[in-house]
Structure formats: C-alpha cells, structure tokens
C-alpha cells in the first residue's frame, strides 16, 4: 500500500514538472467598430487567430475611462476586466512529410505587400520568363515547402513565423487525379423534353464524363490558387487549403479564423455613448495538466456614439395607379440587415412633400421632427413595421420617410421613386379574432382565423427499387451546368465545336420503371387552429379506409394495380366526429400507371402580426411575429405575465409574393388573464379522482375492521430465506437503496423494505451494511435501521458506522459497493430502489462472490439485468406492493387491495379500447388520445 501511495505522489510531481515553459505568440491587436445607427452602446470586436498560434481561449478585456463610468470608481481602482472568454479550436500538430509538401522543384515565389491596420498581404506567384525580373525586384523568396497541417512546436520554432493574408489552395492533380474519372451523377428534369412518353415524371439521374475544361485544368499540374481564380468546384475537388508557405528563412502562415464578439451594453459591463473604452485581448494557453500561460495583445480604444438613424437600404414603393394605392417596404439588406436589431429607431413617418418641392433640402437632417413641419404627415408607425400601405396617392406625389430614434434624432430619406405594379388581390382571412389564450398562466394571447383545411400530396412509387440504366453515349448528349441543366445533342445543325467548354458528356441516364403493383404514399397536413380541435386524418382509397391515429402525417396504400382510383380525405376531431366544412375534405383522382409525385399547393403569402396598446396610434403597434399562409393561429407569448397586464390590440398584415400588403383594423381589446383550471387536463383530473376514490374506499373499510384477501408476492418470502442463509454463514448482509433520492417512490418503498430487513437482521443478530448514494437517504436509512433494531429489542447491535455515505457519483458508487462486496464477502445482497447502468456491475459482482441476491426496481431498462444476475427480483409495482405487504399497518394493505381493483379497471378499459379500435370505432380511444396530445 505504501508503494502505491508513493507511485501516486511521484506521478503527480512528474506531471507538474512536465509542463512546458513555452509562451504563445502575441495575439494581434483587435479591430473595434462602433455600430452605426445605434444608441452608442454596442461595440464590435474582431481579430484574426492564425492556425499556427497555440491557445485554447481568448479573453476580451476592457479598461474603462470616461465621465459616466468613472462616477462609480476612481481611476486608480480602474483596471482591465474580462468582458467575455471565447474558446478557440486549435488544430492538433501533425508531422507532415509527403511528396506534395516539397515545392523546391517548382518555381513558386513569395513576397508581401503591407496593408494599413492589418497583416501584410502574402502574394505567391509562379516565376516565368516574363515576370522573373519584376518579381525578384520585389524581394520575393522561393517557396520550398507548403504545410497543409499545423507542424509540431519544435518545427515551428526553427524559423520566424510571419502572419499574412492569402487564402491559398494547393492543387495536386497527380495525387487526386482519380477523382476525375469517378462518374458524376446529377438529378435533372430533362427527360420529358426528349422522351415524353415514358411512364415516369420527375428528375432523372445523369452520369457524366468530366468536361474538357476540367481535363485541361488537371493538365496544368501543381498550382497555388486563390479562391477567385477558379470555380469553387475545382478548388474543393482537387485542392486543399494551405496553412503555411515556407521559404528557407521564413514561414508565412496564411490560414486563420476570424474571431469576433459583439459587446452589447449590460448591467455588468455597461457601454455609454461618448465614453472612451480601451480594449485588448489575452491569449490563454494551458499545458496539460495544470500549467497556464497568458499573452496580451496591444491595446486599442474606441468612443461609441449615438448616431442618427439609418434609412432602410431596400426602401421601395410599389404603386398601383388604378386604385391610387402605394405600398412601402421597409427592410435592411446586406451588412445593415445583420445589425438592424441594434438600431435604436423608434418610428417611421411618411410625409407628402408640399407641391412644387422638387428636391429634399439636405440641411434639415437630424432636426427635431416636431419643431420642423416639413410636409403632410400621411402615416406614422413604429419602426418594427415591415410594410405600410397608403391610399389616395397621386402618381406625381413626392413621398419621403423620416426615422426618429430614442433621443429624437431624425433622418430623412430622399423622395421615394414609385415602381408601377398591379395590386395583388390579397384577401384578409375570414373569422379573424384576437383573444386571451385559455388554459395558460396569463402570459399569452391568441389570434385565430380562417376555416380548417386538409392539404394532401401523393406519390406513386415502386415497392422495391426498379431502376433502368440506359447508355446514351451514341447520341452524343452534353449537359451544361451553367445553363441550369439543359442538354445539347450533336446533330446535323449543331457541331462539336458549338459545345461549350464546360459541357460534360452524358454516359448513362437512370430512371425508374413502374412494376405491376405500385405503392401510393399520401402525405397530408391539417391547417387548423385550436378551436377546430382537429386530431388526425382519415382517408379512403379504393374503398379501403385508413386512419392516422398517431398523426404521422403520412400513410401508405400498398400493392395497387394500375388504374385510376379516388382518394377521399377528411379531418377527424377530438370528439371522434369529422369536420364538416368543405375545405376540410379532399377528393382526388389518382392515376396509378406511372411513377409520379405531386406537391402541396401552399399559399404564397404570409401574415405579419403587430401588437399595440392604442388603436388610434400606430406607433404603439410593434411587430411580434409572423405566420405562414398555411397557419390558422398565432400565439403571442409575452414571456412574463407582468408584461401582459393591461389592454392590447392586434393588427394583422397579409403580405403577398410581390410584397403587396393588406391589413386588418386593430383587433381587440384583449385583456389577458391567468386561468385557475386547465380544462385540457380534465380527463386526467377525472382519472385521478376515480383512482383516489377507490383507494379511499378500501382504506376506509379496512380501517373499520373489514378483512380483505391480499394476494401473496412471491419475491417477499425469499427475503427471509436470504437473511437466514446469511445468518447461517455468519457473514454480513448488504442493502443497497439505489441511486434515487428521497423524493423517488422507489426509494421510499426500498426504505420500508429496509426496515423489515433490519428487523430480521437484529433478530438474527447479524451485521447489516447500507452504503448510501444520497446523504438524505442515508439519514433516513440510519433512522429506519436504528428504529428496527430498537423494536427488535437489540439497540446494542446497531452500528451507525455501517450505514454511511459513499459518493453521489454513479460509477464511483458502483466501484465502492463492488469492492465492499468482495472485501466483506457479504452472504446476502439486496438491491431495492432506482438503478441505472451500474445495476449489472453490482449484481454481477455480487453473483461472483456467491451471495444470495434479491433485487427490486421500477426501472424497466434495468429489470432484465437484475432478472439475469439475481436470484429473485421484484418487478415494477411489486416493489411498491412488497413495502405495503411487509408493513403491519392494515391501511397499507387496503391500498394494496385498491391497487388490484384499479388494475382490473385498467384491464377493462384496455379490452374495450382494443375491441372498439378493431371494430373501427375510434371515439373511445380518442378520449385518451386527446389527453396525450395536450
């Protein structure tokens, strides 16, 4: 044992000594950006992390100065504070020594061009007779080696490392040439154009030869390429990204990850406009197991400002001259789209300029809107609106937008040019209402609209794959990727010279051929809301009825002979009946003679939902979400019931495929309140009520002294047998109460059985060991065993040190208990309670020691292990029953009797359900289904 202890200490010391005393490279100075158009409280931090830099984490640090922040702290106390840590992925070092690493036989040269505020640009070129003098004059060095993996540390340290910009790829035709001749397969719907009489509609698979362009590219040999120099397809197929380009004296590392972080003002790390902040990043490196090194970058400062609002860069106006209606779309695109959530815009106001004003006066920008009337205000909405529609607009009206931000700064757009369109005929959904959501905590509103609809698509398929491959090389067909998959055929009028350079010759065409019997796959969707109470679809195909009770949204009709069949679909309600409205029924003729697939006919419009507090003031209406055209409801979740206090109104916009708009008037008012009973749980409530009533009935009668027969439980008699055997052998008993905590039913039952076991152990004067997983269970177990020993009249035999806590770690506990069984040679082991993966480890170890073992658990996944490795097992509810059976309390036995009767009731319900479902009656099972789906 002493040797083992020494080995442990020596290993620990060695591991500490092995920590390398190497420092990571200095990180690059971060680049700071003040987000434009915001309230001056966001900073974007970014920098480059090069692949050859070791490190596991960057810490972003900030030193704060400035009037607002320094109110709370003196300058002396100010220091750099960690804003956030960012983990980085470090590539594992690889010692690369492949033929492709060596570029010394090629004339590739490298030089750098400095860039302002950034790493230099690395330029690699192939030396030719034409460029030789000019390239060498720039001080270019010959590249002798490229690295596609990060080399080990000792190789990195051999020569200086320069970080540069240049996403180079090494093209290796010799080693990767095999890829060229691998047949390429593309799926294209071109068949109909050439062979329209085939029993198949859909994409064909074309097997293609490489194009002449690809073959010529391969023939160029080894190349160093930037992404823009060739199509990405070639780059990824034949190239690999270079990490470092190495000359005799310098390593140029060119592969890096852009690390960035958007710091938003928060309570812990506030950002105030016009305050100055200084940032740096710290690279953290850990040498396993415990050594850490840090390296800081240079510092950089920023003063965020509250800039005026930014006009949406995709502000468009769709004008229908027939109705004199104008739809204005307000959205940001590109970079602005990524940062639009940071803008502090408050409202959009659309004005009509006075007649005669030809251009927008520039000097009025950023002036308080209220103080400078600049035209006729047409509409003012909150800045969350996606689109607005204006009526009575004349073609020569000049419309412009004014955006206001949180501190009243404004920005005006130029006059918005009109795009003449024809208005889309958008229809507002019928029956639209907004109301408080039922059965919730008072933090949700719901909007419902329209009638329930059943949408169906189907496909006719072969039961097993039946593909035909047809060689079409004789036809000289060429596939042109750039022209979206069209084919060209060499003919009298089209010669080989007219075939595009990138075209690929078609070798084979693959398509399915229908068999004698086909399968029909029906896929459906129910477009409905909670008021419709739709449950699942019911279909009749060729007079064969099928219901989708689990609502998988899919069903299959198999082995259908060719012909034309009718498919009728309906929606089944929770009550078991069918929805009556015509939209909820479909009737389709399906031609079963060729392989075909249809698509859903989904609406091409969507809904935008706005919530407001004043129906007269549109600036109070803020965008809260959108719903698809197939949706029939929208749930507005406030998140917190405190935010849902008061009176709310809703506006729904329908936005068409050409972005035309129609909107409802404000809907409401909606008063949101919490509910005091969840009616969707009513069936559960009734079930619990019935069960409790039956249990109380038996408990009441047994309390009155009435006798009931209680069934015997086979496993219980073996507890006495195990205890007796342990006593005969003079070896201790071990009781394991499982890995559950005191709140688990199985643990409570286990402790009841422990009381019985302890009582017998005291009676037989045997030692009882109870290793515990949970400290509270340990305390209860100690009390239980102590009471049992006292009740048996042998408190002197009680040993508190035998009922102890081991560890709340699963396998640590399993290892400790297994060791205990072996060391103590326990003669009887009890495993009662909740167990997980350690069950077999415990039971098998016990079995190997020859102990008699009794187990009991309600965990179905562990039962097979106990059944296999233990002598007797209490299965599932037998564990609960055993605790009641062992108890001398008559009321416990009354509950056992109630349990038996309730099981009989469950069996009766099961039999009725099976009989009803088999007979095609589903309303009975739907009662239980409705509970399960809530």
């Amino acid at each position: 044992m002493r040797r083992l202890w020494l080995v442990f200490v020596v290993l620990l010391i060695l591991s500490l000594l092995q920590a390398e005393d190497t420092f990571p490279s200095k990180p690059l100075t971060p680049n700071l950006i003040d987000i434009p158009g915001d309230g001056g409280n966001n900073v974007y931090i970014s920098w480059k992390h090069f692949a050859t830099v070791p490190g596991i984490r960057y810490d972003i640090l900030r030193y704060t100065t400035g009037k607002d922040y320094d109110k709370h702290r003196s300058t002396d106390e100010a220091k750099f504070e960690v804003i956030t840590p960012l983990q980085v992925k470090t590539q594992l070092p690889v010692l690369e020594d492949e033929p492709y690493n060596d570029l010394s036989t090629y004339d590739f040269y490298i030089y750098t061009q400095s860039q302002e505020n950034d790493v230099p640009k690395v330029i690699a070129v192939k030396l030719t007779d034409e460029n030789r003098d000019s390239i060498l004059a720039l001080g270019a060095q010959k590249i002798v080696r490229v690295e596609l993996e990060v080399p080990p540390r000792e190789i990195l340290d051999e020569i200086p490392n320069i970080f540069g910009e240049g996403a180079y790829y090494l093209i290796l035709p010799d080693t990767l040439k095999a890829n060229v001749y691998r047949p390429k397969s593309v799926a294209e719907n071109v068949w109909e154009f050439y062979w329209s009489d085939l029993p198949y509609e859909g994409d064909l698979s074309l097997e293609l030869k490489p194009s002449q362009k690809e073959l010529d590219f391969i023939d160029k040999g080894v190349q160093l390429l930037l992404p823009g120099e060739i199509e990405q397809y070639y780059l990824f197929k034949y190239g690999k990204r270079i990490i470092s380009l190495v000359t005799d004296s310098v390593r140029y590392t060119v592969k890096y990850d852009n690390i960035s972080f958007l710091q938003r003002s928060s309570e812990e790390n506030p950002i105030y406009p016009d305050s100055h902040y200084i940032y740096k990043v710290c690279l953290v490196q850990t040498w396993k197991p415990i050594k850490k090194v840090f390296m800081d970058s240079d510092t950089v400062g920023i003063t965020p400002e509250n800039e005026p609002p930014i006009i949406p860069n995709t502000l468009t106006a769709l004008y229908d001259s027939t109705n004199n209606e104008l739809v204005l779309r307000l959205s940001y695109s590109g970079f602005l789209n990524n940062i639009k959530t940071l803008f502090d815009n408050v409202s959009y106001s659309f004005y009509k300029a006075p007649e005669g004003m030809e251009t927008m006066p520039v000097e009025e920008d950023s002036i308080e809107e209220e103080s400078t009337p600049i035209g006729e205000l047409l509409i003012k909405v909150s800045s969350t609106w996606k689109a607005v529609k204006l009526n009575d607009i004349k073609p020569n009206d000049n419309i412009f937008l004014v955006i206001t931000d949180t501190i009243g700064q404004t920005t005006k757009s130029d006059f918005i040019p009109f795009n003449p369109v024809t208005a889309e005929s958008l229809i507002l959904p019928p029956n639209i209402i907004a109301r408080d959501k039922s059965n919730d905590g008072g933090d949700q509103a719901i909007l419902v609209w329209d009638y329930p609809e059943l949408a169906v698509r189907y496909s006719v398929e072969n039961p097993t794959p039946n593909l035909r491959t047809e060689n079409v090389q004789e036809r000289k067909l060429y596939w042109i990727p750039a022209q979206d998959g069209s084919l060209i055929e060499i003919s009298d009028t089209i010669g080989l010279e007219e075939i595009p350079y990138e075209a690929q010759e078609v070798v084979n065409i693959i398509y399915p051929i229908p068999l004698d019997k086909l399968n029909i796959r029906v896929v459906y969707e129910m477009w409905s809301n909670e008021d419709d109470k739709a449950l699942y679809g019911e279909f009749r195909f060729n007079d064969k009825r099928k219901v989708d009770k689990e609502y998988t949204g899919e069903m299959k009709f198999e082995n259908i002979q060719p012909g034309t069949y009718t498919l009728i679909g309906r929606i089944v309600k929770k009550s078991g009946g069918l929805l009556k409205n015509p939209e909820s029924k479909v009737e389709i003729e399906i031609p079963v003679n060729k392989i075909i697939a249809t698509k859903f006919d989904k609406p091409d419009y969507y809904y935008a939902i706005y919530r407001g507090t004043d129906p007269e003031d549109l600036t109070t209406f803020r965008f809260v979400g959108k719903a698809d055209g197939t949706d029939r409801e929208f749930i507005d979740d406030f998140g917190d019931w405190k935010d849902a206090k008061g009176e709310f109104y809703y506006i729904v916009q329908v936005i068409g495929p050409s972005y035309w708009v129609a909107r409802t008037e404000p809907l409401g008012p909606v008063h949101i309140k919490g509910n005091w009973f969840n009616f969707s749980k009513l069936p559960i409530f009734f079930a619990v009520f019935i069960f409790v009533a039956v249990a109380l009935f038996f408990i009441y009668h047994i309390k009155k002294g009435r006798e009931f027969y209680v069934r015997p439980i086979a496993g219980i008699v073996h507890i006495d047998e195990a205890l007796g055997r342990a006593t005969e052998m003079g070896r201790p008993i071990m009781y394991v109460a499982g890995l559950g905590w005191i709140g688990d039913i199985a643990t409570i039952c286990s402790l009841t059985i422990l009381g019985k076991v302890a009582s017998k152990a005291a009676e037989y004067q045997n030692r009882l060991i109870v290793p515990c997983y949970d400290p509270i269970v340990m305390i209860v177990a100690q009390e239980t065993v102590k009471n049992a020993f006292m009740d048996a009249g042998r408190p002197d035999l009680y040993r508190e040190e035998d009922i102890y806590y081991i560890a709340a770690a699963q396998f640590a506990y399993a290892a400790a208990v297994s060791g205990l069984m072996i060391r103590e040679q326990t003669a009887a082991n009890f495993f009662m309670g909740r167990f997980y993966a350690e069950s077999l480890i415990l039971a098998e170890t016990g079995a190997s020691t020859g102990a008699i073992q009794v187990a009991g658990t309600d965990d179905m996944t562990q039962l097979p292990f106990f059944l296999t490795a233990c002598d007797y097992t209490l299965i599932g509810e037998e564990l609960y029953a055993a605790s009641a059976y062992l108890s001398k309390d008559p009321m416990q036995k009354g509950s056992l009797k109630a349990q038996d009767y309730l099981k009989a009731l469950e069996m009766l319900l099961l039999i009725i359900g099976v009989a009803a479902a088999t007979s095609g009656i589903y309303w009975f099972t739907n009662i239980f289904k409705a509970v399960g789906t809530e």
Binding site: V688, P775, I776, E801, E844, M860, T868
Partner: protein, 214 residues
C-alpha cells in the same frame, strides 16, 4: 414528538395537496409556487450534502485511526477530496481550471473504466441467462439469437427464405421488440404508474411514513 412526527406529517399533507392542485392550475401564481418549491428542494438538498460529507469524513478518519485493513486507501480518498477543494478555491471551476483538468484526466477516466466493465459483465450474465436448461430458457435463447442476428447486417443476408414471403430475421426481431416485448413493457409501466399514484396518496395521507425513519 410534535416536532418529529405531527409537524412533518402536516407539512407533507399540505404540500402534497398544494402540489397536486398546482398541477391542474396554469395561473402564474401556481407557477410561482412550483418554482419556489423546487428552489426549496435544492436548498434542502445542499444541507443534506453537508451531512453526507460529515459521514464520509467520519468513516475514513475512523478507518485511518483504527488502521483497519486497506486504511491507506482512506488516506488517498481524503487527500483527493482535499486536493479538489484546494484546486477549486485557488483556480475556480472554469473549463480550463486545475479542478476541471484533474476531474477530466483522473475522475472521468476512472469512471469510463468502470463503465467499460459493463461489456464483460453483459457477456457473463448473458452466458448464464441463455443456458438452455428449461423450456422457457430455450425460448429466451431463441429470442436472444434472433435479436442479436436482427441487429447486424448478416441477419438480413442469411435470410434467404424472405424471397418466398417468409419474414426475415430482421423482421422477426423487430416484431419481437414491437409486439411481445412492448406489451410486457407497457404492462409493467401501467402497474408502476398506478403504484406510484397510490404510494403518493399514502404519503399525503400519512399512511406511509418511511421517509420519517419509521
């Protein structure tokens, strides 16, 4: 006696009733009660942990003092406990802290080792269970063979009879899982559900008092 017997029973009765009713009430007040209840349970469990550590220390210190067999292991156990506490105090518990590294490279590795023993125990347990010593054991053995073959690709390859419309080994193994096995599992699940409900009722009504240590 009131503090040790009646008061806990009253608390359990009240809380049991409140939590049962809470399940049917979606109101935010009900959610507030539930969230606070869960928080209390966590706080109480933390106090419980101290009791566990006390017991743990007492057992191992006693072993060292009495120099019982294998008492050196107790020194290692207590040293490990102390080292982890010191590391956590010095360097925190972050992703690259000393504490985390010690956990990953010692405790996690040992846990994985113990877990890997399961593979061998499953083999030895299967060997014992699948011995064909009775009619039931033969049925079990057959089912096991079908299941094992059904889980690997060779099961489908050797099912030459499937060409004549007879179900393949894969199909039969899937049927065993989905029909007889599922039926047995659901029967156990129904019994467990019912037993849990009645046990809960007994606890609320004070009929079951094991958790009080008697």
């Amino acid at each position: 006696m009131f503090w040790k017997k009646q008061l806990p029973l009253i608390i359990v009765f009240m809380m049991g009733l409140i939590m049962t009713v809470q399940y049917f009430i979606p109101h935010h007040v009900s959610k507030w009660v539930y969230v606070n209840y869960v928080d209390w349970a966590i706080v109480i469990a933390i106090f419980g942990a101290f009791l566990g550590y006390f017991s743990f220390l007492r057992v191992h210190i006693t072993r060292i003092r009495k120099k019982t067999s294998n008492w050196v292991f107790s020194i290692i156990t207590l040293a490990s406990l102390l080292i982890m506490i010191v590391f956590a105090l010095i360097d925190g518990k972050g992703s690259d802290s000393l504490f985390q590294n010690m956990f990953l490279y010692t405790s996690a590795a040992i846990n994985a080792t113990v877990f890997s023993l399961l593979a061998f125990y499953i083999s030895s347990a299967s060997y014992r269970a699948f011995r064909a010593h009775s009619a039931q054991a033969v049925a079990l053995l057959l089912a096991a063979v079908i299941m094992m073959l059904g889980r690997v690709p060779i099961g489908d390859k050797i099912s030459f009879w499937s060409a004549w419309g007879i179900p393949s080994i894969n199909t039969v193994s899937q049927w065993i899982l989905n029909s007889p096995n599922m039926a047995a599992k659901r029967a156990i699940a129904l019994g467990v559900g019912l037993g849990s409900l009645l046990m809960t009722l007994k606890i609320i009504l004070g009929i079951e008092r094991t958790y009080l240590g008697n």
